[in-house]
């Protein structure tokens, strides 16, 4: 596809609706599979892990938006950034919900103890708390209220979230020494972060 056509498509009035629908597909698929009992022998574990995977995937996706926009000069891509960011939060919240529900039966005492006791859970939970702050300040007026500088500084925390997410994933896989996927996601997020660092240095005035 030629770049101008791509740009025109991105600006189409249904483009956002379509991306929204696509981003919702994993959720619909999981919901359908859960309702028709097709999640295998341990559906709770399947849901919990699948939701974690989708959180990471959307995290990679949303962090690709700005580099892609700058490299290809496609400013229209910026339209999708907030929505994709909120989908990260959507899947993270469902991940957290399925942990609290299926694993802990909404026993909040047990959840608090679990967070305090297990570093792997603490790291995941910290990431979720940070994402909550970003989601809560994702509307336009928040930028005005906070001032663009401060807002941007807060939202740079998404890189910390990415780091926490990878650590959480690494720890979860450590029991089986099974790190292939961890390395793949780590490499993607690492590359995106490096690019940003490089881009910043390059564009420094002076």
């Amino acid at each position: 596809m030629k770049l101008p056509v791509f740009k025109a498509l991105l600006l189409h009035r249904f483009a956002k609706t379509i991306v929204f629908g696509l981003a919702l597909l994993p959720f619909c698929w999981l919901l359908l599979a859960a309702m028709t009992n097709r999640l295998g022998a341990n559906p709770a574990e399947f849901l919990l892990r699948a939701l974690g995977d989708w959180t990471l995937r959307f995290l990679c996706l949303v962090l690709t938006v700005t580099p892609l926009r700058i490299i290809s000069g496609t400013s229209a891509l910026a339209r999708f950034r907030r929505m994709l960011g909120l989908f990260v939060y959507f899947y993270a919240a469902l991940h957290m919900l399925s942990y609290s529900w299926f694993d802990m039966g909404f026993e909040f005492d047990d959840i608090a103890k679990d967070i305090a006791k297990r570093p792997f859970i603490l790291i995941g939970f910290s990431g979720f708390v940070l994402l909550t702050a970003l989601a809560l300040t994702s509307f336009n007026r928040a930028i005005k209220l906070m001032g663009a500088k401060r807002w941007q500084r807060l939202h740079r925390l998404v890189y910390l979230v990415a780091g926490l997410a990878i650590l959480h994933f690494f720890w979860m896989r450590a029991g089986k020494n099974n790190f292939t996927e961890v390395y793949v996601y780590g490499a993607i997020l690492g590359t995106l972060l490096l690019w940003r660092g490089w881009h910043r240095v390059k564009n420094k005035p002076g």
């Binding site: 859960a34 295998g40 022998a41 341990n42 559906p43 709770a44 574990e45 849901l47 529900w101 299926f102 694993d103 039966g105 679990d114 006791k117 297990r118 792997f120 720890w171 029991g175 089986k176 020494n177 099974n178």
Partner: protein, 334 residues
């Protein structure tokens, strides 16, 4: 009357509350009769579902050779809990030689060559010998034992195994006085086991028991499940089942049984000694460093929305095996 639920763990009701066997079996007949159409059409559709569910739970796959066993009369050897579906028990497995995903063994283990097969029995015994599988199969009468299986990962199943007490074999080889432990070595064939050679664990996968644990009648030398020979992904053709220990102690596809004076190294202990001890008895009071062991999810039974059930001390076999550990600090000897 005290009201127990699965949350308190499994408790035997008082004898008066147990449904007599003939009544219980009549119910199944009734259901089958209804499914056959003797009752109204609406009821029949409900009943056929029920009859199917009943059949599927206990049923064999029908694809493997039958291996019948007489119902064991040993105390604790037959739990009355609902059996895990054969499909779940044979498709949700940990068998790292074939991959680390639960579904991997079922798809990758079909390359395993189980015939010819023999088990070398060696070490501190008066009569070391190499037993062929055929020898082992007829060494003692096959029994059916229905055991709870508790995985260290926090899930459990109820499986009807077929085999006999390992002690039957041990008695025949006559251990020497200084034999204090038994080591179980499993097959590690890189040609048929795609993940042997990966860094996950030390190969071959080895396990071990103290002599008194190995001699305990509940420790089962296992050749089958659900009335058939073992599926490859479940550790064919011969494996160990130690129902009061976490599942990984029950080594699969055994090729060597060695009697030693010193405690043998075991695969998971070598991989992470702070997480997996030599004993690895099921113990709700000693958590895994990365998760709680207080509760478990029964595969196929505890659905998405049901609460996990409490894990029982020694997986509910405390009455049978508790005395083996009398006076031991189980927090230290986890």
């Amino acid at each position: 009357m005290s009201i127990n639920s699965s949350r308190n763990g499994f408790a035997h009701p008082s004898p008066g509350e147990i449904t007599p066997r003939h009544v219980y079996e009549e119910r199944r007949d009734l259901i089958k009769l209804m499914a056959a159409g003797a009752a109204g059409a609406a009821l029949a559709s409900w009943a056929s579902r029920e009859a199917l569910a009943q059949g599927a739970a206990g049923a064999r796959s029908g694809k493997l050779a039958a291996l019948p066993g007489a119902r064991s009369s040993l105390a604790g050897a037959v739990t009355m809990e609902k059996l895990t579906d054969y499909k779940d028990a044979s498709s949700y497995n940990n068998f790292y030689e074939f991959g680390t995903d639960k579904a991997d063994p079922a798809s990758n283990a079909q390359s395993l060559q189980t015939s010819p097969w023999s088990v070398e029995v060696e070490g501190l015994v008066r009569k070391p010998a190499r037993y062929t599988l055929e020898d082992l199969l007829k060494l003692s009468a096959q029994e059916e034992r229905i055991y709870r299986l508790r995985c260290v990962e926090g899930w459990s199943m109820v499986i009807p195994w077929v085999g006999y007490s390992l002690s039957e074999l041990i008695k025949r080889v006559e251990p020497l006085g200084n034999a204090k432990f038994v080591e179980f070595v499993t097959l590690a064939d890189p040609k048929t086991m795609p993940f042997v050679g990966t860094r996950v664990l030390d190969w071959p996968y080895a396990e071990g028991l103290r002599m008194d644990e190995a001699m305990h009648p509940l420790t089962l030398l296992t050749f089958g499940m659900y009335g058939e020979i073992l599926p490859k992904q479940n550790g064919a053709p011969v494996r160990l089942v130690v129902p009061w220990k976490y599942g990984f102690k029950s080594a699969k596809s055994l090729v060597k049984i060695r009697f030693t004076e010193k405690q043998p190294g075991t695969a998971w202990n070598k991989a992470a000694s702070n997480e997996y001890g030599f004993f690895s008895n099921v113990n709700p009071n000693v958590d895994h460093p990365r998760w709680s062991q207080a509760s478990e999810r029964r595969i196929g039974e505890d659905g998405l929305l049901s609460r996990k059930r409490k894990t029982l001390m020694f997986n509910g076999y405390e009455a049978q095996v508790g005395q083996l550990y009398a006076g031991m600090d189980l927090k230290k000897n986890f």
